[in-house]
Symmetry: C2
Subunit: 249 residues, 2 copies
């Protein structure tokens, strides 16, 4: 740590949030339309400058509230990665710390103070380049999606996409959407319910749907990652995604 004064350089620091949800059977990302330069009119991840005396998660939470109208943190939020000061903002060196939010579908307000049209967009289309993203947000989104995909393998965070009580089929729909697979319902059921420390039976049943009613589950207490505390719960053995999807071999 070099403190041989002269004064160290100072940088503006932003937080960006890749908020992901599953709806309509697909992984969706929260994007806003920029109302100001640079990249006015482009889509972008919600985010903004860190204020003095703020922590990173704190800043990310605040920006989410400001730009998407989210009253309280609707899911699981963790730091993703930093992208760094050189060459990513036409105004100069800006460091951004990207975050990942996994949440059940929540409503977003139409407009905030400096962003409009917050809304959900299918990740598949966004990554395919159908919308032009500001800054290096396309790269950030791509990294975030890969992180989310691998998180589902070895952590109970798939449940972060579900409401507090959910059926196995709803959880499986999350995995299918995030991994873009069609997992076998029977094997998934056995694996999910058989993994110790993952799910807890509420005793209640779903109703109203076609077919036989399904048991409702919640996250087991020891896996409670939604509230920040212990985000380190691990599924052992992991729920492996089919090898074809890990990007090689």
């Amino acid at each position: 740590m070099n403190t041989s004064y002269p004064e160290p350089a100072r940088f503006p620091v932003t937080v960006d949030v890749v908020a992901l949800t599953v709806s309509a059977g697909a992984l969706q990302v929260l994007l806003i339309t920029r109302l100001i330069e640079p990249f006015k009119g482009s889509m972008a991840l919600p985010g903004g400058f860190v204020l003095p005396g703020e922590g990173l998660i704190e800043a990310a939470t605040r920006e989410l509230a400001e730009e998407a109208g989210v009253a309280e943190q609707p899911g699981y939020l963790e730091q993703l990665q930093s992208y760094g000061p050189k060459g990513r903002d036409p105004r100069g060196d800006v460091l951004t710390v990207a975050h990942l939010l996994l949440a059940p579908n929540f409503p977003v307000i139409a407009a905030g103070s400096d962003a409009a049209s917050a809304g959900w967009y299918p990740v598949k289309d966004v990554l395919a380049g159908e919308y032009s993203l500001a800054f290096d947000h396309a790269e950030i989104l791509s990294d975030a999606v890969e992180r989310a995909r691998s998180k589902l393998e070895y952590s109970p965070l798939g449940a972060a996409f579900c409401t507090p009580e959910f059926t196995i089929a709803q959880l499986r729909a999350v995995y299918d959407a995030v991994w873009d697979t069609k997992l076998d319902p029977r094997n998934f059921h056995r694996k999910a319910t058989g993994t110790p420390g993952f799910l807890e039976d509420t005793g209640k049943m779903s109703t109203g749907e076609a077919g036989r009613p399904a048991a409702l589950f919640r996250l087991a207490p020891q896996a409670h990652t939604t509230r920040a505390a212990c985000a380190h719960a691990v599924l052992n053995p992991p729920l492996m995604r089919p090898a074809a999807l890990t990007g090689q071999d």
Copy 2:
């Protein structure tokens, strides 16, 4: 991204490097002794302020050179995580971006401009609190070690701890040191050589040691993560560490 001027706050940004290596059968971390306040006299991770116009990896590489006398990057370097401006430096808000370096044992110079006694220390002892670390470096080290441990499972980065050509036994010694295990030599041999896209036989043999000479291997071209390019090579199926070591269950 909130650019509703007033000017955004600016923060000093540092990079810290958790440089890990394996020697004497144990995982070791590179620490320096601080010559200046704050935490004068404490041990710390090498690191320092990011300069204008620098990228993060660039800054980490430079600091490693300055504080440990490393001419060129001796191994695999990747970003670990950022630790947030609030409450980690007595001088005020400082954001640090921690990095992880996995490298074969390399010599470090005794002193730099603002750090002395750069040297390798057993991770086990450091995590046990035998040395007092500056700032939140103990937390950073702990996160780094956990990252390194899981990296070995699903990536070919164990080889980053080895010289360019190595025997299976040397590679196994890396896994044993990082995971604090004693893997079965025979099964490890089969698994390592049998994993497609991991190792490549050089045709050469080791000599001089006791026992039968061992074949020398190198990282397969498609797994070349040492040169930054494709750090995303994946071992499939992974080399699982014994369940007892994942910290639960």
